[in-house]
Symmetry: C2
Subunit: 80 residues, 2 copies
Amino acid sequence: MKISVVVTLKKAVLDPQGTTIMKALKGMNFNNVHEVRQGKFFEIEIEEKDKKKAEDQVSQMCDKLLANLVIEDYKIIGSQ
Amino acid sequence: MKISVVVTLKKAVLDPQGTTIMKALKGMNFNNVHEVRQGKFFEIEIEEKDKKKAEDQVSQMCDKLLANLVIEDYKIIGSQ
């Protein structure tokens, strides 16, 4: 089973990298961009047929390694 | 309108960072992980009511700045 997760900075945390990208886009004449926030994306291939169990395991991986829960949130966006 | 995009390495491109994460997960007793691939995630807030037009603009941003199309693919995964 392949699980996709997105790890993003929490709303209250500044994202200087995203701001830089936004400025670059504005410099390229994309003037209607208001905000850019960057995050991480993980595609995890796991040997587990049961969707619920696979997602539970991936949640544990995020809690323990993939996300820093002090400043980041994660969200499982797809399972296939 | 807020558009979410995921930028991933093409299938044929090696992902040493993902491999390292996979090894770390195995070391933490997640033994059924087969593969991890890491990518980037962007959330772009754009002043454009029309979904189609907003997505077209974000595609252009990816073509020009956010993705390196030689080694990366991108996919718009959500609009709201």
